[in-house]
């Protein structure tokens, strides 16, 4: 073996001053005119254990296109992926702890990935006070989630914490997804 196994570099908090570097105008808008799929807005609050909005959090999302394809060499169907959709976005929370993304409803995983998998958006949360990012997923309450193998392993409260709620408003569907970092309604976070 040519390369020795290397121990990981420890994570450290993103701190409060990341905006000028990590946040760019339009970084939370994943769609362009040519993007295929249903336009949606995902929005919500990031809240701490006291229910106080977190004004200095950063959310990163990663999702497949409207047919469930990722533009990445590890996806065997990558060549068919929508060229007008990168699937990656960043949004900082504002002074009221609110964030939003304009994106498309993701397609579900391919059937051969396992029965019943529901579509989802992968999320990473960074903030002052988080020494390492927190990983979660956004599922959609109006999809068929009952047989999803990840959701099925969670208790009812945990499952609820991952379901974005559809709200009507504006020309597109709006989905509310709050990230609750701590407390009785704490969002489910994953060890990936």
């Amino acid at each position: 073996m040519m390369n020795a196994t290397r121990r990981q570099t420890p994570s450290q908090t993103v701190g409060p001053f990341f905006h000028d570097t990590l946040v760019s105008e339009g970084g939370n808008i994943l769609v362009e005119d040519a993007t295929r799929g249903e336009r949606i807005r995902i929005f919500g609050s990031v809240l701490d254990g006291d229910g106080v909005p977190v004004p200095d959090a950063l959310l990163e999302i990663w999702q497949p296109d409207a047919r469930g394809l990722y533009p990445h060499t590890s996806d065997p169907r990558a060549e068919e992926a929508d060229e007008a959709f990168r699937g990656f976005g960043r949004a900082a929370t504002d002074d009221d702890g609110l964030y939003w993304f304009e994106t498309i409803k993701p397609g579900g995983p391919a059937p051969e990935a396992g029965a019943g998998q529901a579509p989802f958006v992968s999320v990473r949360v960074f903030a002052r006070g988080l020494l390492i990012h927190a990983v979660t997923r956004i599922y959609f309450e109006d999809e068929t989630n009952d047989a999803d193998p990840v959701l099925s392993r969670l208790d009812p409260e945990g499952r609820t914490s991952l379901l974005a709620r559809r709200e009507e408003g504006g020309p597109h569907a709006h989905y509310r997804f709050d990230v609750i970092l701590q407390g009785p309604n704490e969002t489910v976070f994953f060890d990936v």
């Binding site: 390369n3 290397r6 993103v14 570097t21 990663w62 990445h72 988080l130 020494l131 704490e186 994953f190």
Partner: protein, 243 residues
């Protein structure tokens, strides 16, 4: 919360013997922000072995030179330094085309950020923000100014040791790390709750840049080396992913 030392933890991408726990009370902001429930193990899946691809379109020519990318009236003040290193995965393989983004205080210990209240001068020629891509060997290089120490209100007379924030986006969702690079011999390190949140002494050492005289340029700048090892690498990136 406590690291997830359940039966499957060895199969997880993140090495919890290395990374800080979410809850570390000496760092006061963790007390109300740290998740407390046990993390739920997530099997490897297509969403975790894929990720956005980065390339030349994501960086500009001067992005890797913080001594030149914000010049308005002249050169920024402070001690010029060169930071080089490599981004590797857990198997020691280079991670090419990783997007590195850095941010830091200026030589006086002041961030350009609008919320920074520290009574130290801004430098009109320094924003303290940069980015670059790793090359085929996983190597990167920044030129910048050594950041000053920075006071914060975590506890009485609290000062952060000089540090540069690093954000690393590798080839997939798992190869993602945000960390901070510190300088060897800084007397503030032993007092810093963020640095000392790392549970393992040898892991802490990996957050220190090494002075490297071979990188130092005569009559120009001191050189430091800072290698970064990201999570992931449970499979080779070239292995077919069978869903």
């Amino acid at each position: 919360m406590e690291p997830s030392n359940d039966e499957s933890s060895s199969d997880r991408s993140l090495d919890w013997t290395v990374h800080p726990p979410y809850l570390h009370p000496p760092y006061a902001s963790t007390v109300t922000r740290a998740p407390r429930r046990r993390l739920v193990p997530l099997p490897e899946c297509l969403a975790s072995v894929t990720g956005p691809a980065f390339g030349a379109g994501d960086v500009d020519a001067l992005d890797d030179d913080l001594t030149r990318n914000a010049v308005r009236t002249g050169e920024p003040l402070g001690e010029r330094i060169i930071v080089i290193g490599r981004v590797l995965d857990g198997a020691g393989r280079p991670v090419p085309n990783a997007l590195l983004e850095v941010w830091q205080a200026n030589s006086a210990g002041r961030y350009i950020h609008g919320h920074d209240q520290h009574d130290a001068p801004l430098d009109p020629n320094f924003t303290g923000t940069g980015r670059c891509l790793t090359d085929a060997d996983g190597a990167y290089r920044f030129t910048t100014i050594r950041p000053g120490a920075y006071p914060w209100r975590n506890h009485e007379n609290a000062w952060r040791p000089s540090h540069i924030h690093f954000s690393v986006c590798g080839r997939n969702f798992l190869e993602r790390l945000v960390t901070q690079m510190y300088f060897p011999g800084d007397p503030l390190l032993v007092l810093d709750p963020i640095y000392n949140s790392v549970p393992d002494e040898r892991a802490k050492q990996r957050l220190l840049a090494a002075y490297d005289h071979g990188v130092t340029r005569p009559e120009w700048a001191l050189g430091y080396r800072f290698d970064i090892v990201v999570a992931g690498g449970r499979r080779t990136p070239f292995e077919d992913y069978h869903r």
